[in-house]
């Protein structure tokens, strides 16, 4: 399979994956273009692997974890405002989901990557540790902290509704 054939077939899935990992479609587009440029230069080696998609996913994660990306992601996170609760029963679920989405996007990069790989790709913690190049306990710690932050946001909604 040539690089062009691979891109034509797998680019939509890669774009969705990059968007979930990055938490922002514009950052995902930028990261995906960088990764594709690098992958095209090394396509002879990548195409020989069993799972080229896994290699590109690893490249996307490495690009997100680069210092340059992490600095810009921290700046975006500082500009984030926590969601404000809305009135009404039907709107409460929508508002809670919206708050959760914004909270996932505002997570630190490593925590968001762990949450994405665990709940979007249904990967085991050991596989996530292999992808991130860290220990299993580190992955569980990152996931625990991310879930705790999301629970804080979920528990804040009723409290804001009362006030």
């Amino acid at each position: 399979m040539t690089f062009e054939e691979f891109v034509a077939v797998r680019l939509p899935a890669l774009a969705r994956q990059a968007t979930v990992l990055a938490g922002d479609p514009y950052v995902a587009e930028d990261v995906l273009q960088d990764v594709l440029v690098k992958a095209q230069l090394r396509w002879a080696r990548i195409s020989g692997l069993d799972a080229p998609e896994a290699s590109l996913r690893k490249m996307i994660i490495n690009e997100l974890l680069s210092v340059r990306r992490r600095v810009s992601a921290r700046l975006r996170r500082e500009r984030l405002h926590l969601p404000v609760g809305t009135d009404g029963d039907g709107a409460e679920q929508v508002a809670q989901r919206d708050a959760l989405i914004r909270m996932i996007r505002a997570l630190p990069v490593r925590q968001r990557i762990v949450i994405s790989l665990r709940y979007f790709d249904d990967m085991a913690d050991a596989d996530i540790a292999a992808v991130l190049g860290c220990r299993l306990t580190t992955v569980r710690s990152l996931a625990s902290r991310a879930l705790a932050a999301m629970r804080v946001v979920a528990g804040r909604q009723p409290a804001r509704e009362e006030t």
């Binding site: 968007t19 514009y26 587009e29 594709l36 440029v37 989901r97 989405i101 709940y119």
Partner: protein, 196 residues
């Protein structure tokens, strides 16, 4: 309360905002061109830096080797000009055998000691040990042409002529033979007049 399904639902919503394939491919060509330019620039800069480093190292090694192989040319004379000091006396003519009148030729008449001019092989270059500034022996100053170059004359107090002796074409100094022949004649006439 947040459960796993709520998180998956939120992630699916985020994934739905993924950029379109057309947008990704549209910027891909431009990014490839920029990437190639950056790689070329980095390669050229690296090659240039490596060439400059190798050139400087090679030049240094060449200079070191050249200084070992050949005697360096001295600009400005011996010692690069540091050895050029003004002469205290003008080199000129001295009578033959001057400075060699030691005890070996006339034993018992004169012993080497105070005021003796050692034979250095060069006439007129004997320095007196009792002279504080290594001045010339008076016998040297009595001969015509052997004039101090920078000491005032004892009689008149005037500064003597400090012009260097004129060298001939071969670089050797021409002794003033005519003045040397005339001077003893004047002295003989003065001595003949003195008893009167």
């Amino acid at each position: 309360m947040i459960d796993n399904e709520a998180i998956r639902d939120a992630l699916r919503v985020i994934a739905a905002d993924a950029p379109s394939t057309r947008d990704v491919l549209a910027g891909l060509a431009e990014r490839q061109r920029l990437h190639r330019q950056r790689r070329l620039l980095v390669t050229v800069a690296g090659v240039g830096a490596a060439a400059a480093t190798a050139g400087l190292a090679g030049l240094s090694v060449r200079q070191l080797l050249a200084s070992d192989d050949a005697f360096p040319s001295i600009v400005g004379g011996p010692g690069g000009g540091w050895l050029q000091v003004p002469l205290r006396h003008r080199p000129t003519w001295l009578p033959g055998g001057y400075g060699q009148a030691g005890a070996a030729r006339r034993p018992g008449r004169r012993q080497p000691g105070r005021g003796h001019v050692p034979d250095l092989g060069v006439p007129g270059l004997g320095a007196r040990a009792d002279h504080p500034d290594g001045g010339v022996d008076r016998r040297v100053a009595r001969f015509p042409g052997a004039q101090p170059a920078d000491r005032p004359h004892r009689d008149s107090g005037r500064q003597r002529d400090c012009r260097p002796a004129r060298p001939n074409g071969s670089g050797q100094h021409v002794p003033d033979l005519a003045a040397a022949r005339r001077r003893p004649a004047h002295r003989h006439r003065a001595q003949r007049r003195r008893p009167r």
